[in-house]
Amino acid sequence: MTSSLQQTKELTMVQAITDGLKIMLEEDPTTMILGEDIGVNGGVFRATDGLLEQFGENRVIDTPLAESGIIGTSIGLALNGFKPIAEMQFQGFIYPAFEQIVSHAIRIRTRTLGAFTVPMVIRAPYGAGIHAPELHSDSMEAMFTHLPGLKVVIPSNAYDAKGLLISAIEDPDPVLFMEPMRTYRSTRTSVPSEKYTVKIGEASTLTTGEDVTILAYGNMISPALAAAKQAKENDNVNVEVVDLRTLYPLDEQTILESVEKTGRVVIVHEGHKTSGFGAELIAFINDKALFSLRNPIVRVTGYDVHVPFFSIEEHYIPNATRIYQAIDTVLNEE
């Protein structure tokens, strides 16, 4: 928790991530960072800038260009007492490592009844909206929330990013830490200089309201807040924006309290619609709070198309206008 005595700095999310990594490298000699271009180059987003100089090449490792190799080797390091923090340069490049994640990282604890464990963090920048070349812009969280034994965390601001990253590093199980690229540098938040944690599995209610609940995370928080503001100003509608922050394990209580209060839900995510994380949220609400709903749930998501080339990517990404329309729909459906 934050103490009022602590010093704070205004940091972008990517700076807060660097700060979190640095604190953990200083505190825990078993932590190591592995990835492509993370050493001398400081990472393609500069998330690991300066860490090689400070901690040396046994702690901050420029690996060969092989994602399966990075995750597979990290598994071996984790089995033998280290806490690897592996960077996938973009989530869109994680696929060669999928087998290592699915078949080993998340399974070894179960298979050995806890005799061997794999405490590791996989950092993966994700999402569109930064005019990146094709294939750099995927939002594939739902491919990972489906997996037993893996925690999936997605911060939306600098404060949460640092606190959640530290929690992920201290977690005894594998954690996929998805970093919203578009939010890396878009805003600054007040971030304590000291170590603090944000608990995995806890959502955060960013605005309170009794009319509509928006469930969102990562890159979608900014347009969700903008749409909520618009709804308040234009229509005097009070929207409760819940930032999920962790997709697995889900903060069921916060979601249920909000849904039971408002009875109207808009779900926003950037990933594709079909079998997207929104489908899981709807199923969850169906199981636990169906009769609190006053209207059917509305989803605002990426379409079931490949994330378009950047000249038209903005048309793919859910924006405040679409979310504002969804608020209107969920209020007026009968």
């Binding site: 190799g69 071996g76 089995l79 604890r109």
Partner: protein, 364 residues
């Protein structure tokens, strides 16, 4: 200096990355070298382990035929490769086996009972005795090479001289993770032994269809690490090569790829019929190069093969196996509730709820 492009190219064609097959004992039991590397006592202990493994393997096939265990992957023919290599390890080293490497895991300390449990479809069959770094059999092919690289790298970072061995077959060398494993091991100079048992078949696909490379050992060349090709049915040669690779790794001189050329007499698993993909009469030829027979012949030449002693050993092993079978068959049935444990260190709320739901369903 060559004189012309065409002569240069001719020379390239003739280039042969020569990886000769190392042998210490000939199939007829005679010594391949004249030096004094032949320790009769050591060969007797190898022989006992190989006999123990073979008898275990045959028992497992019988149990499968009788429906007392599930599908089983037999290793008969590969005992020398597995036992010669496992003998060169010390406690504290790391072993990353496949599902066909029980001769190695038994030699290194796994119990027969545990291995039977594994093939009975019980997860507790994956758990090694306390203090032994034996990972569960890797089922996805070649994935475990990277774990061996990581675990042995960790030893180096801790300042220890422990090593890791990854077992795999000829088919595994087609997988990307084989190449990523060798490359990471090479790039970070990790104390890893990549131990390939080339048994010539990946289920049904023969090695000449698997690759155009003449040897597997030569694949080390691309990563600038040592590749050694050894007769995998010659337990002493395997042991010596492993000893060399392990010592090299311990002193910080990096990984080695060992290709142990061997043969599996039986099926890939009890679920397939090898007569469908190969002429099984070839096994008769291969039996002449058998790893146990070879040591018997050697010991006979040395006047050290005592039939009565072997009979006694055989009897002891049979008892050990019977006891293991009895123990595993007497073991308490696994509790289905246990599947909800060990997914995470601390059960998540939704998993707890699913577990409660499960309990209601089974009791209703």
């Amino acid at each position: 200096m060559t004189t012309s492009l065409s002569s240069y190219l001719d020379q390239l064609e003739r280039m042969d990355h020569d990886y000769p097959l190392l042998r210490m004992i000939q199939p007829d039991g005679s010594k391949a070298f004249t030096d004094d590397e032949y320790d009769v006592t050591l060969l007797l202990s190898f022989y006992k382990q190989m006999l123990r493994a073979r008898m275990f393997d045959r028992k497992a096939i019988n149990l499968q035929r009788q429906g007392r265990i599930g599908t089983y992957a037999p290793f008969e023919g590969q005992e020398a490769a597995q036992i010669g290599s496992a003998f060169a390890l010390q406690k504290g080293d790391w072993m990353f086996p496949t599902y066909r490497d029980h001769a190695a895991t038994m030699t290194y300390g796994h119990s027969m009972e545990t291995i039977f449990r594994y093939w009975k479809g019980r997860i507790d069959g994956c758990v090694p005795p306390a203090g032994l770094n034996i990972l569960p059999p890797s089922v996805p092919i070649a994935t475990q090479l990277l774990h061996a690289v990581g675990a042995s790298w960790a030893e180096r970072l801790k300042g220890n001289d422990r090593v890791a061995i990854a077992y795999f077959g000829d088919g595994a060398t087609s997988e990307g993770d084989f190449h990523e494993g060798l490359n990471f091991g090479s790039a970070f100079n990790t104390p890893t032994i990549f131990f390939c048992q080339n048994n010539h078949f990946a289920i049904s696909v023969p090695i000449h269809k698997q690759m155009k490379s003449r040897t597997i050992a030569q694949k080390a060349f691309a990563y600038d690490i040592e590749g050694i090709r050894v007769d995998g049915n010659d337990v002493l040669a395997v042991y010596k090569v492993m000893e060399y690779a392990v010592e090299k790794a311990r002193r910080g001189d990096g990984p080695t790829l060992i290709e142990a050329v061997t043969w599996r007499y039986g099926a890939h698993t009890t679920a397939d019929d090898p007569t469908k993909y190969r002429d099984q009469s070839i096994n008769e030829e291969r039996r002449n190069e058998d790893c146990l027979l070879r040591v018997e012949r050697f010991l006979s030449h040395e006047g050290a093969f005592d039939e009565q002693q072997i009979e006694e050993i055989t009897h002891e092993i049979a008892m050990e196996i019977d006891e293991a079978v009895e123990r595993f068959e007497r073991a308490e049935q696994p509790n289905p509730n246990d599947m909800f444990d060990h997914v995470f260190q601390d059960q998540t709320p939704s998993l707890r709820e699913q577990h409660q739901q499960f309990q209601k369903e089974v009791t209703s």
